[in-house]
């Protein structure tokens, strides 16, 4: 993992001291709320529906075990004993008190963490494939790229007051996009050109929210040397031409759509040509310096034979769903589901965080990943230690075997916590999980991504769910609209809107009907998404509304 130097530490500590002073001045009245609000937002502190909420940055979803223990400590000392993994791989605390936040930030700084740029119209936390550096299908580990982007975008003087927030995602595995790069303001895929050189495919103008758009190619192959100048040029075009008069039309996706990708690309290329690349370009030596921090861990070769058939059935089921192949023979990637049907998706108690940190120390080189699907990952586990990991997860009540199944639901906090929400989303996810709790049924249904948002801002990514659910409210009653056929991967698609909304009870029945319809109609090897694409909207809509 990347190790920050003394300049990073000094900067983060000075920021904590600044914010401590700002909180003191707010509490004694020297700062008004109007003056204080932008300052607290710059430090990740929101005032939500019922209380303050602190959003802590987890750069590209990578944590050391001591950092996860610190998050556990924050949850226990300053909050209510838990944290919430977000769809940007960050961690939120729902109940901090204003006067405690400077101490929380000081504690975070002691383990090289902070909450900077988790809010505001700046470049937010860069997200990344959670299997980075461990996936057999990646061209190159994307974490050095993500770290380079973090360094470039942190407090960038030109890009701290953009027309609107800006989200970047990166993946090193363009054939299996697990970072949702086409639904970001900028998505970057590591690619190889015809000459075998590794560079970047830059995608621009994607996004969800009230105007969902799939990103388009800005540059099919950007050489590594040119990446930062090219991104700088792109950001300058957005900063100059992006709308500032209407926050709902201020994201880069609107600019790209209204300008057209050809003209937008021309503007970027024109700006790029006018830049002096030496001002910002990062050469091979610096890239190699960063990459060295992400060198593969010291894998061991004395892995014992692993006889799965001799193991308990529950363990075998868990291996089947939650464990995926690793690039290194004898190792495996372990997904830890945070989708206990009785809890909110992404919630993890402080006790559980410590258990995961301990497992990471014993079995995965002390490193943990958070995922945009609101789970965690131990990226490098010896196959002959999988049983020990599972035993530890069982003891921590984290053994749910539902990764990528219907119980693995992405869900925003909704009206239970969020000030912007129009309806609740957590109870909907719990009701779906309860309806489909039978593991054999989940397995039989196969890959399924249900994504739920409690408002049109789409933090639950409902537009790209195989089944997307949007919570709304009219005349004091919550109702839920359904989209089908969304896709967050390399074959990204915005889901098709069905018709009239449902009450929560009707919704669960409707989902069961379309799942049953899919099970009846699917052909050999088809996922829900495949069957939907083959049969089309009308057939599924008929099932959803029980019009047969």
């Amino acid at each position: 993992m990347y190790r920050y130097d003394e300049f990073d530490a000094e900067f983060v500590n000075s920021r904590v001291a600044q914010f401590r002073g700002q909180v003191e001045r707010r509490l004694d009245g020297r700062l008004s709320e109007a003056e204080f609000r932008p300052l607290r937002l710059m430090n990740g502190l929101y005032l939500q529906l019922h209380a303050y909420m602190l959003r802590v940055a987890v750069p590209y979803g990578t944590l050391r075990s001591d950092q996860l223990r610190m998050l556990a400590h924050l949850g226990e000392k300053y909050d209510k004993g838990y944290g919430h993994v977000t769809t940007r791989q960050n961690m939120q605390f729902n109940w901090p008190k204003l006067q405690d936040v400077p101490d929380m930030l000081a504690d975070l700084a002691s383990v090289e963490m902070h909450a900077i740029q988790t809010s505001g119209n700046c470049i937010r936390n860069v997200t990344c494939d959670p299997y980075a550096g461990a996936a057999a299908d990646e061209i190159e580990d994307p974490r050095p790229l993500a770290e380079l982007l973090r360094q470039w975008s942190m407090l960038h003087p030109e890009f701290s007051f953009l027309p609107r927030k800006f989200k970047i995602a990166v993946t090193g595995a363009p054939t299996h996009d697990r970072a949702m790069v086409r639904a970001h303001d900028i998505g970057i895929e590591v690619v190889r050109n015809d000459e075998g050189e590794i560079g970047y495919h830059i995608i621009v103008g994607g996004g969800l929210g009230r105007t969902p758009v799939i990103g388009q190619t800005l540059r099919a192959f950007c050489p590594k040397d040119e990446l930062l100048p090219y991104l700088e040029a792109t950001m300058r075009v957005y900063n100059r031409f992006g709308r500032r008069d209407n926050k709902y039309k201020a994201r880069i996706k609107i600019l790209v759509r209204e300008t057209g990708i050809e003209e937008f690309t021309r503007l970027v290329n024109e700006e790029f040509a006018a830049l002096d690349p030496s001002d910002i370009a990062v050469g091979k030596a610096e890239r190699d310096r960063i990459a060295a921090y992400f060198a593969p861990p010291k894998y061991e070769s004395d892995i014992k034979a692993f006889d799965l058939s001799a193991q308990p059935e529950a363990f075998r089921k868990w291996v089947d769903t939650n464990v995926v192949p690793h690039i290194q023979p004898g190792y495996a990637i372990v997904n830890i589901s945070l989708k206990d049907p009785d809890r909110a998706p992404g919630d993890i108690t402080s006790e559980q965080m410590r258990a995961v940190a301990d497992l990471a120390d014993k079995h995965s080189f002390g490193e943990i990943r958070t995922t945009h699907q609101q789970n965690m990952v131990l990226a490098h586990v010896r196959q002959d230690e999988l049983r020990a990991v599972w035993d530890g997860l069982v003891a921590a009540e984290l053994e749910d075997a539902n990764i990528n199944l219907i119980g693995d639901i992405i869900c925003c906090p909704g009206m239970d916590f969020c000030a912007l929400a129009t309806a609740r989303s957590i109870p909907v996810s719990q009701a779906i999980a309860e309806r489909f709790k039978d593991h054999a049924r989940q397995q039989a249904i196969g890959e399924m991504q249900i994504k739920i948002s409690g408002c049109i801002n789409a933090c639950g990514h409902h537009h790209v769910g195989h089944i997307g659910i949007l919570g709304l409210e009219k005349a004091g009653v919550e109702f839920y609209q359904v989209t089908l056929g969304g896709d967050a991967t390399q074959t990204a698609a915005i889901g098709d809107k069905m018709g009239a909304g449902f009450s929560q009870e009707e919704l669960i029945d409707g989902i069961e009907r379309i799942v049953d319809f899919y099970m009846d109609e699917r052909e050999e090897g088809e996922r829900f998404l495949d069957t939907y694409r083959r049969l089309g909207t009308p057939a599924f809509k008929e099932a959803l509304y029980d019009n047969a």
Partner: protein, 101 residues
């Protein structure tokens, strides 16, 4: 300073968030603040509404509360769904499971 404007319909309540804790509060009949909506003072009396407005502005200026505003109510409960929801807190909170265990 507050930007409070009384434009509501029906009996009016006054709500805000405590500056320090961030928790929701409602103005009581004694023009104090309570975290319990059951204590909320609801009135259509214009003079009292004026007083609620000035007390809320003073409370913001004194850094006791933040973001004060009037809410419409019907039959003793907030008219808007969002405001009704604020009166009872999250319908689900992992903290409750932790407290039970």
């Amino acid at each position: 300073m507050s930007t409070l404007k009384h434009k509501g319909k029906g009996p009016q309540g006054m709500t805000a968030n405590e500056l320090r804790s961030g928790l929701n509060v409602w103005m009581t009949k004694d023009f104090e603040w309570s975290r319990d909506y059951a204590d909320a003072f609801l009135t259509e009396d214009e003079a009292l509404i004026e007083k609620m407005d000035s007390v809320a502005k003073a409370a913001e200026a004194a850094n006791d509360v933040v973001g004060a505003y009037f809410i419409d109510t019907v039959d003793g409960v907030p008219a808007r769904y969002r405001e009704r929801f604020r009166t009872h807190g999250p319908s689900y909170d992992t903290a409750d499971l932790i407290a039970e265990s």
